[in-house]
């Protein structure tokens, strides 16, 4: 909050400076984050991207950020404020900022917006996301290699396509190794609440899970996994220091080069609205170092999968894919297209429980 206030004060001071006619050729880039920059997960990685911009362009850019902005009405206020303060480019880094971003973008046609993980665009609104499901596939393979109870726990945030897609990719990969394994999902309805996430991890382990995967942002679940002696997969950043024994790997978000490219485009005047969905091949995500205690064949399998996904040989959503009722949704050899992936609202076979709608 102090940083936020300082950032706001600096922005206000700059705005005054502009009015006084001391305008410099600085490009102003604003960020709004759903969590605190110190979450060591999702928001932390976006902030690393922001720092990469500063490092790349030095004095030519000025970046500001507002952290812990709740999704909804408050987000609109914050985005509008950043736009009014004369930011040239604004990154809104959570799915729930989608509608507020579009609403404000209409009122500020000269400001460029970049919304992470959304599907609605406009002349001045781009969307960008990473194919995290590719990482989930690799994590699922590892889980299949290490699970002994054949029950894998999955801590989920909100039932949106992004999260459901991750659960499905993970489950299919898991069952490709251990056909009898199942995934238990617990929805915590928050992106960030270390206490609640750890309670969910405890509940899943109490119910027999010996691998914990998460789609929430704090390192609390991997820490609980270590305390209880089960495996875990980190989220967004390398969380191994929280659980050196249990942390198998993590799916790393890497926004740095995308952010630098988009700021460059604004500086050059070549920015255009676009939709980017890059994967392991473009380096928008990567796997964190594998735990040394993992069996060698598990690591080899994971590394092979990463290489095959990069080369295009492997697509995590290749048929046959069955839904929960056992009906074949995708025939053998066929692949789900991006549209189907982006609107996914059904579980594959092997996920326990019903998907909340």
């Amino acid at each position: 909050m102090i940083k936020k206030l300082l950032g706001t004060a600096a922005a206000a001071a700059l705005a005054v400076g502009l009015m006084a006619g001391n305008a410099t050729a600085q490009t102003k880039v604003g960020f709004i984050y759903v969590g605190p920059v110190g979450d060591h997960g999702w928001t932390y990685r976006h902030d690393q991207g922001r720092l990469a911009i500063e490092k790349e362009f030095g004095d030519k850019v000025k970046t500001t950020y507002v952290e812990s902005v709740s999704e909804g009405a408050d987000a609109e206020r914050v985005i509008r404020k950043l736009a009014q303060e004369g930011h040239d480019l604004i990154f809104t880094t959570s799915f729930g900022f989608m509608n507020p971003t579009l609403k404000v973008a209409k009122q500020f046609p000269n400001v460029k917006f970049e919304h992470a993980t959304g599907y609605k665009r406009d002349a001045n609104v781009s969307t960008y996301a990473a194919r995290f499901y590719e990482g989930r596939h690799v994590a699922g393979l590892l889980a299949g290699k290490v699970t002994k109870s054949n029950v894998v726990g999955y801590i989920a945030s909100f039932p949106i396509p992004e999260v459901v897609r991750g659960i499905n990719a993970f489950t299919m990969a898991l069952r490709s190794v251990k056909p009898e394994a199942e995934v238990k999902v617990v929805w915590v309805n928050t992106w960030y609440d270390p206490g609640k996430e750890s309670d969910a991890a405890k509940a899943l382990i109490d119910q027999g899970a010996d691998v914990i995967s998460q789609h929430t942002d704090s390192p609390a679940p991997v820490q609980i996994a270590q305390e209880r002696g089960v495996w875990a997969i980190g989220q967004a950043s390398d969380m191994s220091k929280f659980a050196p024994k249990s942390h198998m790997t993590a799916i790393l978000d890497i926004w740095d080069h995308y952010y630098i490219a988009r700021v460059k485009a604004v500086m050059d005047g070549t920015w255009q609205s676009q939709d980017v969905w890059d994967g392991l091949d473009k380096g928008m995500l990567a796997m964190a170092p594998y735990n040394e205690a993992l069996p060698a064949d598990a690591v080899a399998m994971a590394e092979q999968a990463v290489a095959d996904i990069k080369s295009g040989k492997l697509h995590p959503f290749t048929g046959p894919i069955k839904d929960q009722s056992g009906k074949v949704v995708v025939k053998a050899g066929e692949r789900l297209d991006d549209k189907a992936l982006l609107t996914m609202d059904w579980y594959v076979e092997g996920v326990q429980g019903k998907l909340p709608k």
Partner: protein, 307 residues
Amino acid sequence: MIDTTAAILLSMIAAATPLVFAATGELVTEKSGVLNLGVEGMMLLGAVSGFATTVATGSPVLGVVAGALAGIGMSLLFAFLTLTMLANQVASGLALTLFGVGLSALIGQDFVGTPMDALPKLAIPVISDLPLIGPVLFGHDPLVYLSVALVGAVYWFLNHSRGGLVLRAVGENHHAAHAIGYHVIGIRYLAVMFGGAMSGIGGAYLSLAYTPMWIENMTAGRGWIALALVVFATWKPGWVLIGAYLFGGVTIAQLHIQGLGVDIPSQFLSMLPYLATILVLVMISRDSLRIRLNAPACIGKVFHPDS
């Protein structure tokens, strides 16, 4: 089944304990007529101070003490603003929370990701190994027992001691208490400091026992839940304890229900702890006259000895 029940009860008690500390402390503060909305900020500072001290000294006892002192420090700031400078209590309390969020993040920067062992749990030979009763009654860390003892002590203090009577008098009618010679400001300072210390310990419980780590904003709104509990428990320590355990219990139970694959929408289950706690506490305290009798009449009002 016994194992699941024990697991739910164990997690429930851990989830409820920070709320019990913070809410009981705030209850005493409010009984003296002061509304301190800075619980969340004080908890966060308690959490980071407790964690940093334990890492630096290796002593969880010192960590808990540091958490309490940090809470007291924050509460003194609030007390100075509202009791000495007569600032608005609501605004000052909100500011204290914002301040606590930022200050704890600043202090905690170097401690994110530092490993630490959780508080040791009680282990009495034989008894702690009994099924169900063993772990649920005798398998916690010392702070859990302290929190229950605290509720009993506060109940006794408020209802059966002279000091408690004076404190309540100050909260009910500060002009009358002042007129018969009590030092209203001094008593309120003490009550606010007690609230700060308890919030600090509640925060330290989070970072030392519940999720043994420091991470920004780790309270995630528990300070606000504690504040709500005080009101819904109509300022009664015993009901605060019931409310906190109920809230913790339903929170944990709904996670287990989801894991078992019961077909209830998870959004509804997430709402359930709030709904159940409010419903139960409203039901047990539906007598509006008694609520008014319990609510401190001077809460949030500015007091100046000469006015």
